[in-house]
């Protein structure tokens, strides 16, 4: 009888024990589906497109995850991956990636003309107030590394990725409908040359590790981008 009980106990416990042994109970293990693309190395060929997500602000990542799932940001592979995920789990995943140490690919080798550099710097640091185009740095920080908790950094991203985002913002509210008062509106005011110059310039910059002096958005910009900045947390 004792043997029988032992055998049964063994049978019941074995699978659980195996699971505990071979699969780490960590968030890193759970999100291997993400890191197969969003890893920190191998940013070449097809991999060059996937943006870094390590070190981006938690609310920014959380908003993007929800937008992919709910069809407000269109990218089918992400939509399928996240289809049956709860807000709560998304927030946890966003938090995890936001705390990962930054690790960036080296700046891209881009051929950029002096007049393009001038144009890019104008947009980055001053914008064109007369055309209602704010400086990039006004929202993304003077180091262009973003402002917590909702505004992403712009450096350490590939030119292909940044260009694709501009394409989405400019070619239709449907792609980024949720930000019609914010980036999509700004992107639509830019000329092709301006978009080209700024994407080249951004991709060619080394990542700054200095903390920026702009850490809070101005009330005007908070208002302008309220649907990003003031996104409600968990439902």
């Amino acid at each position: 009888m004792m043997h029988f009980i032992l055998l049964i106990t063994f049978l019941l416990i074995t699978p659980v024990a195996n699971a505990a042994k071979s699969v780490p109970d960590t968030i890193a293990e759970r999100v291997k589906a993400c890191t197969i693309c969003h890893d920190n190395e191998d940013k070449i060929e097809r991999h060059a497109y996937y943006p870094r997500i390590a070190g981006k602000p938690q609310d920014y990542l959380f908003n993007q995850l929800r937008h992919f799932r709910d069809g407000r940001r269109h990218y089918q592979p992400m939509a399928i991956l996240l289809e049956n995920m709860s807000d709560k789990y998304m927030l946890e995943i966003a938090g995890y990636f936001s705390t990962l140490p930054l690790s960036f690919p080296p700046p891209e080798q881009v051929s950029i003309q002096p007049d393009e550099i001038k144009l890019a710097k104008q947009l980055i640091h001053s914008g064109y107030p007369a055309r209602d185009i704010p400086a990039c740095s006004a929202c993304h920080g003077d180091t262009l590394m973003g402002i917590a908790p909702s505004i992403p950094g712009l450096l350490g991203l590939s030119r292909a990725y940044i260009t694709a985002q501009f394409g989405s913002w400019r070619n239709g509210g449907s792609m980024r409908g949720q930000v019609s008062t914010c980036m999509s509106e700004i992107a639509k005011k830019l000329t092709d040359d301006e978009v080209n110059a700024v994407t080249k310039w951004l991709a060619a910059q080394p990542v700054s590790t200095q903390p920026g002096s702009i850490s809070v958005l101005s009330p005007a910009l908070t208002n302008r981008c309220s649907n990003i900045v003031l996104g409600e947390h968990t439902k």
Binding site: P15, V16, N18, A19, S22, V23, I27, E29, R30, V31, K32, A33, C34, I36, C37, R46, H47, Y50, R69, D70, G71, R72, Q76, P77, A79, I80, L81, L82, E83, N84, M85, S86, K88, Y89, E92
Partner: protein, 433 residues
């Protein structure tokens, strides 16, 4: 309810309580108090009716179709693409203009039970009234009470875009004569109350048959067969729940079936694709008694034949295939083995086994290909709130590589399935979800 409780005992209690209440009321304050008690009684039963309705609405997963991606619940607007055109689901919130706010209980019953709209128009069977017809009047009324209690959403949806000749509605009467059998579920007296409850849910509100059978050229499901079929409008195959060559649960324990349906994962399998969605939206919210009843019914209709014919088919293996098999193994070792194990054994409750997993081996490789292409997280459920995800390998592997690795998985560790080509992988990509 009717199959689970001894109703006579309950009503005796109720009568006793009511009588006592009446006597007390008459003694204490003859008219007004008695009226108050009666009002409270009906108010409570209205809220209980809505509560029951909310539960049954979950069981029928009405929200699943009647909500657009990221849209307002029950406000419709979801596009269902079928071979007959695109159906846009209607708003079923109680808005008088945009929704069903001006419907009566009777109108709702007519839609659910007879497949007719309020104005008498015949409904397309994209709305599964072919299954919902089995729902009792009592349950239909509760669902209606719940829907009417929702906040009204004034969203007006675009019309459906149905192709000729299917857009000629009177043709539906011919279709109905051929394929629609109206009538509520009749319990099988030779079976247990639990079995009947399960059959009622599977055949009726659960409308499992809407996906788990082949639809013919006119879009009609085979009647209550659950023998598997390609899901219309989404590029997934809903496997047979009967055949032991597919996902019959005949050799599973009731507990294992219950666990998969309630949590989305068991030590033998994980629900993916549209089934993961059904579990997130519907099944995880049902009582464990109801899930168990469904498991009892599903097990009873499944084949459980121990004669294993899979070993008798000896495929011809060419030198070329041996070479491809070796390439597939190499890819498996690089990309899959870390989670699914050296011998495809998986990790119970975390990563599903691939060896002996019938949804991997079954005749249609579609679901396996799609899972490798798109990956995905199992549904987050109360019991599995932080699932482990499967990467979308189309982001890093080529079609030919995916064909090799899927062919390997279908034929390694005693598995036996057809070889998969790069062309099949490419064809599996279409379809929204």
């Amino acid at each position: 309810m009717k199959y689970r409780f001894n109703t006579s005992t309950m009503s005796e209690w109720k009568i006793a309580v009511l009588f006592l209440g009446y006597v007390l009321a008459t003694i204490l304050a003859p008219t007004t108090a008695a009226e108050n008690i009666l009002n409270e009684e009906s108010a409570r039963s209205a809220s209980e009716q809505q509560k029951l309705g909310a539960y049954l609405t979950r069981a029928g997963n009405c929200m699943g179709c009647h909500t657009a991606q990221g849209g307002q619940p029950f406000a419709g607007g979801r596009r269902l693409s079928t071979s007959f055109g695109i159906f846009v689901t209607p708003n079923i919130t109680p808005d008088k203009e945009a929704g069903i706010g001006s419907w009566s209980e009777e109108d709702f019953w007519q839609a659910l039970h007879q497949g007719k709209s309020r104005d008498g128009r015949l409904l397309y069977p994209a709305f599964p009234y072919t299954e919902y017809t089995k729902v009792t009047r009592q349950d239909a009324n509760a669902i209606f009470a719940y829907l009417q209690s929702l906040p009204a959403v004034s969203q007006i949806n675009p019309p459906s875009d149905i192709r000729f000749p299917y857009n000629f509605r009177p043709l539906l009467s011919i279709w109905r004569a051929l394929y629609f059998k109206q009538g509520i579920y009749t319990p099988d007296q030779s079976k247990s109350a639990e079995w009947n409850r399960g059959a009622y849910l599977v055949q009726g509100l659960g409308h499992c048959n809407a996906c788990h059978t082949n639809r013919n050229l006119l879009g009609a499901s085979e009647e209550d067969t659950l023998t598997g079929g390609r899901i219309m409008g989404v590029n997934w195959y809903a496997p047979s729940l009967i055949s032991r060559l597919e996902v019959s649960s005949g050799d599973w324990t009731i507990e294992e079936i219950t666990e998969l349906l309630a949590t989305g994962i068991s030590k033998r399998a994980v629900a993916s694709g549209p089934m993961a969605t059904i579990i997130r939206q519907s099944l995880q919210h049902l009582s464990i008694e109801d899930i168990r009843a469904m498991a009892v019914y599903l097990k009873s209709i499944a084949e459980n034949n121990n004669d294993d014919t899979s070993g008798t088919l000896v495929p011809v293996i060419s030198e070329n295939m041996k070479e491809q098999f070796a390439q597939g193994r190499k890819l498996y070792d690089t990309y899959c083995q870390e989670c699914h194990g050296v011998s495809g054994e998986g990790v119970a409750g975390i990563y599903p086994p691939l060896a002996g997993n019938r949804s991997v081996i079954m005749a249609s490789p579609l679901n396996t290909i799609r899972t490798v292409l798109n990956g995905g997280f199992p549904a987050t459920t109360a019991a599995n709130p932080r699932p482990y995800g499967m990467p979308p390998f189309q982001q890093i592997l080529r079609d030919g590589e995916i064909a090799l690795v899927v062919s390997f998985i279908r034929n390694a560790w005693g598995n036996s399935g057809s070889w998969v080509t790069a062309l099949e992988v490419d064809r599996s990509k279409s379809g929204e979800r």
